[in-house]
């Protein structure tokens, strides 16, 4: 059974966002990392790039698959998780601690359109 954390918001494409004030930390869920298998590379945007809810901003690659990263929120990338460049396996180890981008949110209300932990759990049918 996949790990789902309370207090985060979830998208149907299996990204999460953790909101802290005007910032959101975006990554992939435990379910997503498990489905993908050993992550070998995370393709990340650059700081100052704009992301838009529902649009892809990068990709996660395993040996024989690649999955687009769809942003659950809109805003400006203020930080990318540089550690993933050298250690993509961190996404497998703990996907929630190892977020991928930090976004300055342009519309905090977007989170309301996402699922909470209970809804995501129901969505996964677990």
């Amino acid at each position: 059974m996949s790990k789902i954390l309370e207090g985060l918001y979830y998208a149907e494409s299996h990204e999460f966002v953790k909101i802290e004030g005007e910032y959101g930390y975006v990554g992939i869920t435990d379910y997503a990392q498990h489905e993908l298998g050993n992550v070998v590379y995370v393709d990340m945007p650059e700081v100052d790039d704009e992301v838009e809810a529902g649009e892809d901003f990068g990709a996660v690659e395993s040996v024989k698959a690649a999955s687009d990263l769809i942003s659950p929120v809109s805003g400006t990338v203020v930080e990318v998780n540089e550690a993933l460049n050298d250690s993509p396996e961190l996404v497998n180890a703990d996907p929630y601690a190892n977020w991928i981008i930090k976004v300055q949110l342009s519309d905090a209300s977007e989170a309301e359109k996402l699922m909470d932990a209970a809804a995501y759990k129901a969505f996964l049918g677990e």
């Binding site: 050993n38 070998v40 040996v63 396996e89």
Partner: protein, 488 residues
């Protein structure tokens, strides 16, 4: 043969050894080392191996022993048409009257080569029911790209600039959408019906004046013939689009029906599949592109033409889609394919498709009790199983593929098409005998039995190959792609 040969050529190197000989110097007084300005010279010496000729011969011969080829065993690789590669093709490709020709030769000095090109193009046009062919593209994917350029050029020349989308079935080869993207086209996916063919009802609403065309292969990647192709052709043409035929599966219908007659406007052919030229471990191939009458002027430049006196010449058309290659494609591969057509002749070309289809159906019927066949009925040159019938063993398609290696077979194509989770795609081709197929069937059944009785031996396969399963995760996380990087 040395069983465990594992040296790299660099590891054989010893300073002072040489593997070449050159004639005595005849021209003195023109010294490169003093003539060339120092700031244009390289600062380091490239670390190439220093080995003798014999070192090289033995090294690569030993490496070849770690390889599987059509010459060494049955290769049931779906969608790849791994048929026998005749040696007379190789002999002709190495004909010294053709191998020493520089592409800048005046055409009157290369009439023989141009005739080979012209005749092969004409033969392909006859076989596929189209008007004209270029042999300039280098490979199947390159042919797709060249073909889509023709499609776009056709619309652009008509001033119809809004046609920027191309329809691709969800079962298509991965190259179709990739080629379309390189050609600047947006991809619209059309769904398959339950039996794997294009869903005409799903297609209809997609057709409007932004559609440049549709890419299809027939039979499709499931080995199913698209019987509704006349209707699809009518619908797409009515909306102003063109039909592109991905020739990857042409072997299925070779001699039996022709893409041009099905309504296709543009197509590519993989000479290294249908026309028996070797795959060479990944290339060189050649990807001729054909068009129906009325589209000839958009073929890539240069084009080989014949004048009233029977002389061949090169022409560059201003309306052409452009230049996709250095000159006239992989001429050596063209020599091979032409030799194959001459060998078959008109009487045998028409048997290729039927015998390939017979072989596929024979294997499919024999194995469908052990492997799950999602789509029943007569297949064409290939068919797809969705894993074992008995899914309880936990043995996956990958395991089956790897176990086949132990028994001396190449694996089928696996996990493609994407419509099923455990796809096993088998294409035997017409050059395999009933005895070979019977042995393969027996081994496939044996593997199915092993999966039930002793699944661990299948899951940990292969056991008897030069190397066993590889750590691909580390290879991708920390890529070491040269000897220098490997040494660290």
């Amino acid at each position: 043969m040395i069983r465990n040969y594992d040296k790299l050529i660099f590891e054989l190197s010893k300073e002072g050894r040489v593997g070449y000989s050159l004639p005595k110097k005849e021209i003195d007084g023109y010294c490169m080392c003093c003539g060339l300005p120092d700031n244009l010279k390289r600062e380091t010496t490239p670390e190439l191996p220093e080995v003798t000729e014999f070192d090289v011969v033995r090294h690569y011969t030993n490496l070849s022993n770690k390889n599987f080829g059509v010459d060494t065993g049955f290769y049931p690789l779906g969608s790849c048409t791994m048929k026998y590669n005749p040696r007379i093709n190789e002999e002709m490709a190495a004909h010294p009257a053709f191998t020493q020709l520089h592409p800048s030769l005046p055409v009157e000095c290369a009439q023989g080569a141009l005739e080979v090109y012209y005749n092969l193009a004409e033969s392909l046009a006859e076989i596929s029911g189209l008007a004209a062919f270029t042999l300039n593209p280098y490979a199947g994917a390159h042919g797709e790209l060249a073909g889509l350029m023709i499609m776009r050029q056709y619309h652009m020349q008509r001033g119809d600039l809004k046609r920027t989308k191309v329809i691709v079935p969800d079962s298509a080869h991965g190259t179709n959408p990739a080629s379309a993207a390189v050609c600047g086209l947006e991809i619209v996916e059309v769904k398959s019906t339950a039996n794997g063919t294009v869903d005409v009802e799903d297609l209809k609403p997609l057709l409007d004046d932004t559609i440049a065309g549709i890419m299809m292969t027939n039979p499709n990647t499931l080995g199913i013939f698209e019987t509704e192709i006349p209707e699809i052709s009518r619908l797409v043409h009515e909306c102003g689009g063109l039909l592109y035929y991905d020739g990857a599966n042409l072997n299925a219908v070779l001699g039996k029906c022709r893409p041009g007659d099905m309504g296709f406007d543009i197509m590519h052919i993989n000479l290294h599949k249908t026309f028996s030229t070797p795959h060479g471990g990944g290339g060189p191939g050649d990807g001729p592109v054909g068009v129906r009458a009325g589209l000839e002027q958009y073929l890539p430049n240069p084009q080989v033409k014949k004048d009233a006196d029977g002389k061949f010449y090169l022409e560059c058309d201003e309306k052409s889609s452009g230049y996709v290659s250095n000159f006239l494609g992989n001429f050596g591969v063209i020599m091979r394919a032409y030799t194959y057509i001459l060998t078959l002749g008109r009487e045998n070309v028409k048997m290729v498709g039927p015998l390939a289809v017979l072989n596929a159906n024979y294997v499919k019927e024999a194995l469908k009790g052990d492997y799950y066949l999602p789509i029943e009925g007569v297949c064409k040159h290939e068919f797809v199983f969705d894993g074992l019938v008995d899914k309880s063993t936990g043995v996956t398609t990958l395991d089956i593929a790897k176990r086949l290696l132990d028994y001396g077979y190449h694996a089928p194509t696996i996990y493609f098409p994407l419509l099923f989770h455990q796809s096993i795609m088998i294409e035997p081709t017409e050059t395999e005998s009933k005895e070979t197929l019977d042995e393969f069937i027996a081994v496939m059944k044996k593997v199915a039995r092993e999966a039930a009785e002793n699944p661990d031996v299948v899951k940990s396969a292969p056991h008897s190959t030069p190397v066993r399963r590889l750590d691909e995760t580390t290879a991708a996380r920390f890529p070491k792609t040269t000897y220098k990087q490997m040494k660290g």
